[in-house]
Symmetry: C2
Subunit: 159 residues, 2 copies
């Protein structure tokens, strides 16, 4: 099963490498990973999406909890949460195709962030299914580059 | 100086840990890091924002290029590029404060993705300066949680 794991860590050298290493040494492939600052500059949050055996994942989470630089580990998959991802899509768009692409972009509430005579760069945020649907619609025009941030997630309601 | 490094890698076990380890062993702290799939499922793109000595960074990039699972390394800081980040902000918002917060959200073209009687969760994308400005405006209401994807970047124009 696929899990979205949130890890609060002290923002120090080597923490990221150690945590990524823990997952890979247990045979988990990381589908996506993001690390960014939180409301406290000394603390970073990692959001890791992994697929693999549930029992082994529980062990990995226990091991993570033992690392001194790890503040909190939670499996958001088990909680009511909102997931979001940011994706940049560079798509072929000559003058003929531009109106069609702009229509698709409008329907998905995506935004055009760069354009030249041949190419448009589209920014979209949302849950995975929405993003995948947009990518499928843009694919026939020719996608030059696709850049995904990986998922972030937040638990609904109060902390 | 701060650099935004893009690394295309084979989507394999352990690659992420090895690359993160390379930066931390050379004394670089990673400000943000994202990993996600590209247009080819077997290939992932890492976007890494690091601060540190320029000469050592050049050495690290050469070392990265030698790793067999690394396809391409580029320092986007040197190229004309667009940077974007997705941030989720959970902010205190009781009935009294809600209209003020919604006004701020509107000005920044941010979006409300969750709401209850006490809290709103706001989603915003953009360059760092815009995001930082929004955070400063929301801070007085009380930020409960702040979740950043870390930066992604795309070179302007054709590949």
């Amino acid at each position: 099963m696929r899990h979205t794991i949130s890890v609060l860590v002290e923002n120090k050298f080597g923490v990221l490498a150690r945590i990524a290493g823990l997952f890979s040494s247990r045979g988990f492939n990381i589908d996506s990973l993001t690390v960014g600052e939180t409301e406290e500059p000394a603390v970073s949050r990692m959001t890791i999406v992994v697929k693999g055996d549930d029992h082994i994942l529980e062990q990995v989470m226990k091991q993570l909890n033992k690392l001194i630089d790890v503040i909190k580990v939670s499996d958001l998959t088990k909680k009511d949460h909102v997931e979001r991802e940011l994706v940049l899509i560079k798509v072929n768009a000559n003058t003929d195709k531009r109106p069609e692409i702009m229509e698709i972009v409008g329907i998905f509430r995506a935004r055009i962030i760069d354009v030249n005579t041949e190419i448009m760069t589209v920014e979209v945020t949302g849950a995975e299914t929405k993003i995948d649907a947009l990518i499928e619609l843009l694919r026939p025009y020719g996608i030059r580059e696709l850049i995904r941030t990986g998922k972030v997630a937040v638990v609904r309601g109060s902390k």
